[in-house]
C-alpha cells in the first residue's frame, strides 16, 4: 500500500484535510501545533487504498521544537511514496517557503492549495495552471473545511507518478554551484540544502566521524567566502525572491484592499486597553459556565440520572439473590466510586468544549500573545499559557500540549508545574469538604485553592529556572492565525477526543482502583478469620490497617483518622477517587452521588476547619494521579526527572500543609490568614506595578535579556 505524508505549515488546515481524506475522528485545532504526534489513517476511494500520515505542522525543515523535529526527521528518512504539501492559499507567500524546501527532495509531491474560500476574499484570482507549470508539480485547489475539491485531489493522488522526481535547479547559478558542491560530499540534494541552511545541525551531521566532518568543513569554508550575505540567509533569501516572482505571476491582487474580518475582530480583542479585561472576562466566563450555576445544574441532572440507573441495578441484584460479596462489590465498590467520578463528567465536558471553541476560533493564539509579558516574568513564554490553561481541566492533555514549546528546558518546567494547577478532578474534593466545613465561606476556600496552586506553580517555575534548568529562556515567536468560525463538527470531535480520554481512564484505571479499594476496605481479619466485613467493622479492613500504619506520618499535618489518610492514598490512583473513597470509608457510599451534603455530618465530625484546610492543601499540591504521572514520564523522558518531579511535589505538599497546620495550631489562624492575604495582595500589586513600570523598555540593560551577544553587535 502507498504511504502518503501530509506536510504543511501549522494552521494550514492539515488535520481537517486528514479527517476529510480518512474520515477518522481526529482532533483539529486552530492553534499552531495541535497535532503533537504523527497520526495514521486510511484513504479508501473506489478501488484505491492508501495510508495517510498526518505530521505536525512546520514552517520550515529547520526545526526548533520537538514536534517539528518529528516532521523533519520523517522527511529526511524519505519513508513515504508521496508528499501532499498543503498550502494555505490565503497565506501563500510564507507557505511556499516550506514547499520550496520540499521541492529540493526527489520525493513525488502534490500541492493541495487549501482555504480557497478565504483566498477568494483576499485576491482577485489565483492562476492554478500557471502555478503548476512554475512549481513543476500538480496543484489542486481545495477548501478542506467545506470538503470542496477533495474528490479531485483523490483522483490526482490516484494517478500520481510514484517514482522519484528530478529536483529542478531553480536557484541562481552561484547558489546551485554551492548546492552541488555540498551534494558531491553528502550525496543527496535535500541533505545538501539542509546543510546549506542549518550547517552541521542538519540531520545530526555533527555526529558523523571526524574525517567526514573535516572534509565537509573545508567545502563549507570555501563556499562561505563566495557570498556577501550571511551564509545561513543566502538560501532562504533566494527562495523568498523566487516565491515573490511566482506570486507576481500567479496572483491577481484586488485593486482595493479591504479590511479583513480578522483585523476587525482583533481591533477589539487585542485592543491596547480592552484586550486584557476582555481576556480575563473570557477566561472567567469559561470557568464560570463550567463550574458555576450552569455547570452545577447540568451536573445535578446528570447525577440524578446515574442514581436512578444504579438503584435499578441494586434492585435487580437483590431480586436475583446473589452472594453478599457480589452485591457489595457492585453497589459499594464499583458504583459507589464510579458515580462520584462520572458525576464530574458534565463539568469537564463543558470546560473542554469551550477550550476547543477558543482553540478552533484562533483566540488561544491571542491569549498567548496577551499573556507572554506576564509569563516571561517567570521564565516562561506566552505559549506555556495554553498547557497551563488545559491543566485546569486535566493534567494529561496539558502535559501533551507542552510539546508545542520550543526548548526542552521550557517543556520540562511547564510539565513539572502543571500538577500544581488545580485540575478539574480536584474540584469535587474542595466542593464537598469546603462545603461541609466552611459552609458560607466555602467559595472563598475553593478560590484560595486555585490561587495557592497558581502561586506554587509560579514559585516552582522560578526556582527551577534559577537552579536546575538554567538553560531555560523561553523563546516566543508566534503567528496569529486568521479567525475562523469553529465548525460544530470539529468542536464536538475535539471535545469528544478529550472526554473519551477521561472516560477510558474512568473505565480502566479508575474502575480497577475502585475494585481494589473496595476489596481492601471490605475484607480483613476479624478474630483471626479473613472474611467480608460488615459496614461497622470497616476499621478492621486491610486498608484501615494500612491507614493506621501510615497515620503517624500524616499526624503533623493535621490528619486525625486513618480514613482521611487512606483517601489521600487513593488519590494517587486518581484524584476523583478521594471523594469516592471518603464516601465508602465513612459508610455513605450509595448516597454520595445523590448529594455531597450526605457526607457533611461525617466530615464535620472528623475535621476542624484548620485540619480541613491542611487536608485540602495537601490534596492540591501532592503528587498527581497515576495517569498524569505516566504522561509526565513521557514528556520528561527519564525516570530520574520523573522521580525528582514526584518527590518535589510530595515534599512541597507536605511542607505547605505542615506550615499551615502547625502555625494554625499555635492559635495564629487569624493572623496567618491575614498574613497570606497581605502577601498575595502584595505580590499581585508589585507584579502589576513592575509590568507597568517596564512597559516599553524590555531591554533596559543588556544582561539577562537572552540576546546579550547581539546587543553588542547592534552598538557597534
Amino acid at each position: 500500500m502507498k504511504r502518503i505524508a501530509l506536510i504543511g505549515n501549522p494552521n494550514s488546515g492539515k488535520t481537517t484535510l486528514f479527517n476529510g481524506l480518512t474520515g477518522s475522528n481526529q482532533s483539529v485545532g486552530n492553534w499552531p501545533g495541535v497535532t503533537v504526534e504523527k497520526k495514521v489513517g486510511k484513504l479508501k476511494y473506489d478501488q484505491f487504498e492508501a495510508e495517510i500520515i498526518d505530521l505536525p505542522g512546520v514552517y520550515s525543515l529547520s526545526s526548533i521544537s520537538l514536534e517539528e523535529e518529528v516532521t523533519t526527521q520523517f522527511i529526511l528518512s524519505k519513508s513515504m511514496d508521496l508528499i501532499i504539501n498543503i498550502v494555505d492559499a490565503s497565506n501563500i507567500e510564507r507557505n511556499l517557503f516550506l514547499t520550496h524546501q520540499l521541492l529540493d527532495s526527489e520525493i513525488p509531491m502534490i500541492i493541495a492549495l487549501n482555504c480557497m474560500d478565504i483566498a477568494k476574499t483576499k485576491f482577485e484570482e489565483i492562476n492554478v495552471p500557471k502555478m503548476e507549470s512554475l512549481l513543476g508539480v500538480p496543484v489542486v485547489p481545495i477548501t478542506a473545511s467545506k470538503k470542496f475539491g477533495l474528490i479531485e485531489l483523490i483522483r490526482v493522488i490516484e494517478v500520481a507518478k510514484y517514482e522519484p522526481r528530478f529536483p529542478e535547479k531553480r536557484y541562481s547559478n552561484l547558489i546551485e554551484n554551492t548546492i552541488s558542491k555540498f551534494e558531491s560530499v553528502l550525496g543527496d540534494r535535500l541533505l545538501a540544502t539542509r546543510f546549506f541552511e542549518d550547517g552541521f545541525k542538519a540531520d545530526k551531521l555533527s555526529k558523523r566521524d571526524s574525517e567526514f566532518i573535516k572534509s565537509l568543513e573545508v567545502v563549507l569554508e570555501e563556499e562561505k567566502a563566495k557570498f556577501d550575505l550571511d551564509f545561513d540567509m543566502v538560501l532562504p533569501n533566494e527562495r523568498y525572491n523566487h516565491i515573490l516572482s511566482i506570486c507576481d505571476q500567479v496572483i491577481t491582487k484586488k485593486s482595493v484592499e479591504i479590511e479583513s474580518t480578522t483585523d476587525k475582530i482583533d481591533k477589539i480583542l487585542t485592543h491596547r486597553i480592552f484586550g486584557l479585561p476582555l481576556f480575563l472576562g473570557i477566561m472567567f466566563s469559561v470557568f464560570f459556565l463550567a463550574f458555576g450555576p450552569v455547570g452545577t445544574f447540568i451536573t445535578d441532572g446528570f447525577v440524578w440520572l446515574i442514581e436512578k440507573f444504579i438503584s435499578l441495578i441494586a434492585i435487580g441484584i437483590e431480586n436475583a439473590g446473589m452472594a453478599s460479596w457480589v452485591s457489595s462489590l457492585v453497589i459499594n465498590g464499583i458504583f459507589g466510586g464510579l458515580s462520584a467520578v462520572l458525576g464530574f463528567l458534565p463539568q469537564l465536558t463543558i470546560l473542554f468544549f469551550f477550550l476547543s471553541l477558543l482553540e478552533d476560533s484562533g483566540y488561544m493564539a491571542r491569549a498567548a500573545f496577551i499573556m507572554d509579558r506576564v509569563l516571561r516574568k517567570f521564565g516562561l513564554s506566552g505559549k506555556s499559557f495554553i498547557p497551563m490553561l488545559i491543566g485546569f481541566g486535566c493534567s494529561v492533555p496539558a502535559m501533551a500540549a507542552t510539546r508545542t514549546l520550543d526548548k526542552p528546558e521550557d517543556r520540562k518546567i511547564t510539565t513539572m508545574i502543571i500538577p500544581f494547577i488545580s485540575c478539574g478532578a480536584k474540584a469535587p474534593i474542595y466542593g464537598i469538604i469546603a462545603g461541609a466545613i466552611f459552609a458560607s465561606h466555602s467559595y472563598l476556600v475553593v478560590f484560595s485553592m486555585y490561587i495557592i496552586g497558581i502561586l506554587v506553580a509560579i514559585f516552582s517555575a522560578v526556582l527551577f529556572k534559577k537552579t536546575i534548568l538554567k538553560g531555560a529562556s523561553a523563546n516566543y515567536i508566534m503567528e496569529l492565525p486568521e479567525y475562523r468560525m469553529p465548525t460544530a463538527k470539529n468542536s464536538f470531535l475535539h471535545t469528544w477526543e478529550r472526554v473519551k480520554g477521561f472516560l477510558i481512564k474512568a473505565g480502566t484505571i479508575l474502575l480497577g482502583a475502585f475494585i481494589i479499594i473496595w476489596f481492601l476496605s471490605y475484607f480483613g481479619f476479624v478474630d483471626g478469620t479473613f472474611r467480608l466485613l460488615l459496614d461497622e467493622e470497616i476499621e478492621f479492613s486491610l486498608l484501615g490497617q494500612l491507614g493506621k500504619f501510615l497515620l503517624p506520618i500524616f499526624k503533623p499535618i493535621g490528619f486525625s483518622d486513618w480514613q482521611s489518610t487512606v483517601a489521600i492514598l487513593t488519590g494517587f490512583v486518581a484524584k476523583e477517587s478521594i471523594v469516592g473513597t471518603l464516601g465508602i470509608l465513612y459508610g455513605v457510599a450509595g448516597d454520595v452521588l445523590e448529594s455531597g451534603t450526605l457526607l457533611y455530618p461525617a466530615l464535620q465530625a472528623v475535621f476542624t476547619p484548620l485540619q480541613a484546610y491542611s487536608f485540602l492543601v495537601f490534596a492540591l499540591l501532592t503528587s498527581p494521579c497515576i495517569a498524569a504521572i505516566a504522561a509526565m514520564k513521557k514528556e520528561l523522558g527519564s525516570w530520574k526527572w520523573l522521580l525528582f518531579a514526584v518527590l518535589y511535589e510530595l515534599i512541597i505538599a507536605y511542607v505547605a500543609a505542615l506550615l499551615i497546620y502547625q502555625l494554625g495550631s499555635l492559635g495564629m489562624g487569624t493572623l496567618l490568614s491575614v498574613l497570606v492575604f497581605v502577601i498575595v495582595i502584595f505580590i499581585v500589586f508589585s507584579t502589576i506595578r513592575r509590568v507597568i513600570k517596564n512597559k516599553g523598555k524590555t531591554c533596559g540593560s543588556c544582561s539577562g535579556c537572552g540576546v546579550e551577544g547581539s546587543c553588542e553587535k547592534i552598538k557597534k
Binding site: 507567500e93 550571511d230 491596547r272 496577551i370 509579558r373 524590555t698 531591554c699
Partner: protein, 77 residues
Amino acid sequence: MTLNELKPGQSGKIVRVYANNLRKRIIDMGLTNGTTIKVKKLAPLGDPMEILIRGYFLTLRKAEAKTIEIERIGDKA
C-alpha cells in the same frame, strides 16, 4: 534603527538580522533582507509586538525585534 523602535502603524524594510536565539526561525518565517514590515500593534502589556509581513500576522518579542535592523519607509495610511 531597529524593529522595536517602530511605532504601531509605521513600516520599515529589513536591512539585517543579527544573531539571536530565534534567528533561523525569524529568517524562515520570511524576515529576510529587504522585506517590508509593518508594525500592527503592541500587546496590551506593551510587549510582544504584532507585525504584518508577507501578508500574515506574526508576533515576536521586543528583545528579538531589537536584533532586526531596519530602515524606515514612508507610511501608508
